[in-house]
């Protein structure tokens, strides 16, 4: 039933979704996407990370056909989303950000509706499996209105999976969800990926991108600032800090340490040394030696990794200072 994705060259893995120079200006004149280009690989989990209003939903909605791009082109499985919309949309499942569900329908009916809408022959066996995977089977005859928020979210996922899509978009799947349920959601996303579905999720929680994504795209003010492998991103931008706690506070750094670019905390009890862990000489040895020679007494040492949060803040700050005239 699913059409074979087109591929010019079978040896080069073609991206499942390819976005080229997409911009979107809403009718009120607001430009929500600025020349976004992005390739999404088959089978990966890509997190689009950005603050509220960054343009994440707009980007996803454009790929899914809910919003028309102002310029640029998008292909899914090698097919153009406008010219071949019947093919591309069959490959895509979308779980929207808001809990937009009917009120008086039954879970089972809304699932059958979704499957039919995407032009698939009824397959109760498959839908049963989807509901069981999402722990919703007992609720199949429940009225949508009577479900809890978490269950509604899962019904939306079930609806998105009802036509067996190969690409799944999850728009802020854990926004406003408590920690326990968030972990469940992450596990579910992993299971889906293992079943061969490519997953694109948006989030404004950095820990979420860090926890489940293979690659992270950072988006702000409609611009895709950077897309990279999560590990590479950490390597590239993830500086480490070596923190030395002192036995006794000091007011100024000893002269022998001035060359080492240390930050002294306000209370004088802690010195922070920032280094690049991938550099062959990270300078920690010379630092320790210098501290020893200066006669300072070390109480404790530890290191910290920069989180995506800090990377993100750094990037956004850079970008805004750059664009400011």
């Amino acid at each position: 039933m699913n059409p074979e994705p087109k591929s010019a060259d079978a040896t080069v893995p073609s991206p499942i979704v390819s976005i080229a120079n997409v911009s979107k200006t809403y009718t009120n004149g607001y430009q929500a996407l600025k020349n976004v280009s992005l390739d999404i690989q088959r089978g990966e989990i890509l997190a689009l990370l950005g603050p509220n209003g960054a343009g994440k939903t707009t980007l996803i909605s454009t790929i899914c056909g809910i919003v028309n791009a102002s310029t640029g082109s998008i292909t899914v499985g090698g097919y153009d989303i406008e010219a071949d919309y019947r093919i591309t949309r069959r490959m895509i499942g979308l779980v929207p950000q808001e809990l937009t569900l009917g009120a008086f329908e039954k879970v089972w009916h809304t699932l059958c509706f979704s499957r039919g809408l995407f032009g698939k022959v009824p397959d109760p066996g498959y839908l049963e499996k989807v509901l069981k995977d999402l722990s919703l089977w007992e609720k199949k005859n429940s009225i949508l209105m009577s479900l809890s928020g978490g269950m509604k979210r899962r019904v939306l996922i079930a609806k998105a999976l009802a036509h067996q899509p190969s690409v799944l978009f999850l728009d802020e799947p854990t926004a406003g969800v408590d920690v326990e349920l968030r972990k469940d959601m992450w596990a579910l996303v992993q299971r889906l990926r293992e079943s061969g579905v490519t997953i694109i999720l948006t989030t404004h929680y950095i820990e979420e991108a860090e926890a489940i994504a293979d690659r992270v795209g950072i988006i702000n003010h409609g611009e895709l600032l950077l897309v990279d492998d999560k590990q590479a991103l950490m390597r590239k931008l993830g500086k480490r800090q070596f923190i030395v706690e002192l036995e006794k506070p000091i007011t100024v750094l000893p002269v022998s340490l001035l060359m080492l670019k240390l930050d002294l905390s306000l209370d004088g009890c802690r010195m922070t040394y920032t280094y690049d862990p991938h550099h062959t000489d990270n300078g920690i040895n010379s630092l320790l030696q210098a501290i020893n020679e200066s006669g300072l007494v070390i109480k404790d040492v530890h290191t910290t990794k920069t989180s995506l949060e800090e990377i993100f803040v750094g990037l956004v700050k850079n970008k805004t200072t750059q664009t400011r005239p």
């Binding site: 809403y26 919003v67 028309n68 808001e98 009916h109 039919g116 809408l117 032009g119 022959v121």
Partner: protein, 253 residues
């Protein structure tokens, strides 16, 4: 053609109507029965016949039209407005389905519902007065054409409306007066000459006149003209829908 999609939209729209059966079918029938009692019995006591037709029977076609027009518009406009309002329209918009298919599904369901309501009212009226339908084929033709045209019209209103007020504005301010002044309860020839002329500008007059002719062979205007007017209205609605389709008006951003 994504026939599965048309089928599920149609099916679940119909299902919704049957789940709220009291609201969908019982209330239009009840209100018609009330009209029937008030007009048929109260006025019918004074007016024996209109153009040779007993008054109680005379008002049946008009009552049916009254219900069909309002129900077609209400059903179709609500059917498409509600998913827009709640946001569930996202699913239809992201599905491999064309605007025409969406239209067939929603308008088809709305037209079917009002057709059923029309038949129920006809059946109900049969309890009160002896009914004879002179031209069953034309009766059904007028009925079906009206259901489709006004469901299309309702669909357009549902697309256009951005809030509940707008949704009810046209049915309340335009349709209801036109229907009441369209000769549901009287023959145009009973009016003073000046008003007869004014009445001819009311498109609903043509609808009711043609429909009544199919029952009793009495009409205010010629049947051909009635049919022509219905087809014109249908064509106008199709034209607007075609334009909406071309521009993606108010569905996509």
């Amino acid at each position: 053609m994504n026939t599965y999609a048309i089928r599920v939209i149609y099916k679940y729209e119909m299902l919704r109507a049957f789940e709220t059966i009291a609201q969908s079918f019982a209330s239009p029938v009840l209100s018609t029965a009330l009209y029937f009692v008030v007009f048929g019995s109260a006025i019918g006591g004074r007016i024996q016949t209109v153009e040779g037709v007993p008054y109680g029977a005379f008002i049946v076609p008009g009552l049916m039209m009254l219900a069909i027009l309002t129900q077609s518009i209400a059903n179709a406009s609500f059917g498409i407005y509600f998913p827009k309002f709640t946001g569930t329209i996202y699913e239809v918009l992201s599905a491999p389905i064309s605007f025409i298919e969406i239209l067939i599904g929603y308008v088809g369901a709305a037209a079917t519902k009002s057709f059923i309501i029309g038949l129920i009212i006809l059946g109900t009226a049969g309890f009160f007065v002896p009914l004879h339908i002179a031209h069953p084929f034309w009766m059904l033709a007028f009925l079906i054409l009206t259901c489709i045209s006004f469901s299309l019209f309702g669909f357009i209103i549902g697309l256009w409306a951005t809030n509940f007020e707008k949704l009810q504005l046209i049915p309340m301010l335009v349709i209801t007066p036109l229907v009441f002044l369209g000769g549901s309860f009287y023959s145009v020839s009973m009016l003073p000459p000046a008003w007869q002329t004014v009445t001819l500008f009311n498109p609903v007059v043509y609808l009711i006149s043609g429909f009544r002719w199919s029952f009793f062979e009495v009409a205010d205007v010629s049947v051909g003209l009635s049919l022509f007017m219905v087809l014109i209205f249908l064509a106008i609605c199709l034209l607007i829908v075609w334009w909406i389709f071309r521009t993606g008006y108010r569905l996509k951003q």
